[in-house]
Subunit: 244 residues, 2 copies
């Protein structure tokens, strides 16, 4: 994908003048990152703002007792580094490619200057940060009030394609986007808790599980089980980067 | 407190020209809100951006099964409404005064216009939103990995004054900033889980509890118990609005 083609698809660059898009293109670099490569560490000064073109990037921290807190897993058009533009300049977490990944990087200095000089860039950045805040508020709400099986159900519902949840077609088999252990960590569970939660979910809804493939016979049953402990009705907006 | 005096103390207005501060002052209203008053509902269009001068404001949502998800509790200089400036225009949660509260309100239209026309306002807003994002990342991490007593310990540590944690003076008795039931909800616990967590904390650290007053004889013991399941070392920054 050409840089300009990518930037035109990223919401952060929506509706900007071609001149400023060209300016960003001139300073954007594409990087191929091998699976398992660490892109940055929490204390690194954020020199670059990143956009994922393809692959998966895990944002995480290590606790003092050696646990991993996976704060986000980014796929296509996911961004990181915007948190370090003004105020604190460190990234604040590790970023690691969990699959072979292609990233675009823009120097933070270029983005800062553009925010100051082009109101469209500032407005788009505030819009993107507001959307992310709403997503995090939703995550905190679910951690507060959903039990483990409901959190797994919520995760699965985000993978259901629109044609299935609006009743047009049956739900196709759902493949987990990354391995079970990573899904468990992302949901704040041990692999054992995740397995138990999946079993409870099978008992309480119409899903069946074959290795990493989940069959959802009745989306409504999963919805009514998982969403009862949430303020949003399915399909909830925001927080849908994993959806087809 | 005069409007201008307040605005000068709020980080969002740091370092701005007097002319733009005067412009905000001219459009700012002060409101006295009685304890228990609902300020906005999730679907309300956000016409106003609010700054708390004194009192406490609870931001929350209701789940479908009738639980309350308390997403934030704001005190002096806490802000809400910035999430609705661009993109979605609804508030996204209920805001309720949990004590008699004084609020300053600025029309969202005035703030939007200022962000577009004054780079200092845009930069300050992005800085404030980045800080809030870091705070929410920390909260998610703690929900993922801390057990209930550790979460209660973390909450108490935020109430320890600096003179006690840097070893200058013994820690004075700590009073909960609002009632126990609200503290429990804010930590995503039932009142029963909160009581059990407090008991476990008494057993594992040197705290003693008398009604709503907590005595912390050894800040280090509380720190080492609570912070082991966190990536930050005490005193962690961000997330410290309750601290003296």
């Amino acid at each position: 994908m050409q840089t300009s083609e990518l930037l035109h698809q990223v919401p952060l660059f929506n509706g900007l003048d071609e001149q400023i898009i060209d300016h960003f293109c001139a300073h954007t670099n594409q990087r191929q990152i091998k699976k398992g490569t660490m892109i940055c560490a929490p204390d690194d000064v954020a020199h670059n703002f990143y956009i994922v073109q393809s692959g998966w990037v895990k944002l995480f921290r290590d606790t003092q007792d050696g646990q991993e807190a996976v704060l986000d897993i980014l796929s296509t058009f996911g961004m990181f580094g915007e948190n370090s533009l003004f105020g604190k300049s460190d990234y604040g977490w590790y970023a690691e490619a969990v699959e072979d990944t292609t990233l675009f990087s823009i120097p933070v200095s270029i983005l800062k200057e553009a925010i100051k000089n082009h109101q469209g860039v500032a407005v788009n950045m505030i819009t993107a940060m507001s959307e992310h805040r709403r997503k995090l508020d939703g995550e905190i709400e679910r951690f507060m009030l959903q039990n483990a099986p409901q959190r797994v159900g919520c995760f699965l519902l985000k993978l259901v394609p629109q044609s299935a949840w609006d009743g047009e077609t049956p739900c196709p088999p759902i493949n987990l986007p990354y391995n079970k252990a990573l899904v468990a960590t992302r949901l704040g569970m041990t692999p054992e808790t995740f397995s138990r939660a999946l079993k409870a979910l099978k008992k309480n809804t119409d899903i069946t599980v074959k290795q990493s493939t989940i069959h959802i016979d009745d989306v409504d049953s999963l919805t009514s089980y998982s969403c009862q402990a949430c303020s949003s009705f399915f399909p909830c907006d925001g927080d849908d980067e994993e959806r087809d």
